[in-house]
Amino acid sequence: MTWLTPALLFLVTWISVYLQTGLIPMRVVLGAPPNILPAIVVYAAFTHGLGIVTTLTIVAGLWADSLSGSRLGTGVAPLFVLGFLLNTRQHLLLRDQRYAQFWLGFGGGIGVPLAHALILEMGGAEPAWGWFTLRQLLGLGLLNGIACPVAFIFFDQLRGTFEYQQAGPGPYATNREMKRGRT
């Protein structure tokens, strides 16, 4: 059942991109579309291989661009950079701590849209930003900060239910274990 979590990850991403086009009350509170893609990418980067992370970020970026006014492909790079950096540096991060997950989601929620806007500006487009952008970014940061630990809890629960559990340490100390084969 190792395919289940990646498949569900893509399904949740697909639905979350669709929900970004709606959820009007949340849009009014945040002042921006409820974009939780950075939180999903943070989770994927810590729990999946680089192949899945790369595919997910490319697909998610294309899906989001296809429904928006952005040129197709401009939303891919920020998500990929986030996923790539976290995946390659995951041994340096406190991935199991809830507050670390919050701050990673918070940072992703601010950094990804900001990087997207910079890419659009560099491409000659005129994204709508002003002082209200600060409120939007703060709202997106908080949303992703909350969504990130929730994603960890939700997907980990699911993994625990459907996937084989890793055998834990035995009752004996490791230095008492008999090693088989030539050493």
């Binding site: 970004q20 086009t21 009007i24 849009r27 974009n35 992370v53 970020t57 002003g130």
Partner: protein, 267 residues
Amino acid sequence: MFKRSHYIALAFCALVLLVLLNLPSGASSRLKLAVGGFFLPLFGLSTAAESFVDRASYQLLPRQTLISELRRLEADNARLRFHATQADDALAENNRIRTQLGLLPRGPWKPRPARIVGRDPSTWWRTMLIDYGSRDGAQVNQPVVTAEGLVGRIAVVAHSHSQVALVGDAACGVAVLIAETRDQGIIKGPQSTVESGALEMSTFQHSPQILAGHTVVTSGDGGIFPKGLPVGKIIDTHPANAGLFTTARVRLGANLNRLEEVWVLQQ
């Protein structure tokens, strides 16, 4: 520093981006429509759910309410038909005079209803999706309005839905004039005040006679929007560029945050 798999992932992503960002505009739009097709099941599901809820709510409404609503609509319909007859006469007269003056006659616009099925998932654009596509006769640049005022123009057309660039988006500049003073100007995004339902309008010259409360309508220049569509009201004005121009804040007639249905104008 990086493993081989890291370099492969980087190269793959860079290649995808290189191809996508260098596609010709037409091919990029077609690919965008194809990728957007992934969401058709969800849009269909959402529309079906909405119509189910609507039907269920009709079943629950008391008969007395429905009859009184029907009578009110019949009265409205009779009044509007009378106005429409008068407007048809005026249009015919206008076209006769335009022909005599050597001008092209002005064709009537046919409003087609459309429902909003989604809004832009990105923070940086003011667009929305409507359930009105090429199968219904949608074409790029058709104006989108409500009874309260201008909403925007169709920017991208797919088979079953279209993307509308709203007034205030960078892709939807509107040539306008002040109905009371006939001063001309332009509304073009992006504007920092778009969030509060107000946009910035720049006139082509210093126009101190523009006052708060004046009505802003489309000027018909630019060839996309017909002349005379209501846009909004002036909130306040201030001189710009050392008094060479006037900048005015305009409160839009249509509340873009609360739209549910719109009209697409077909010629």
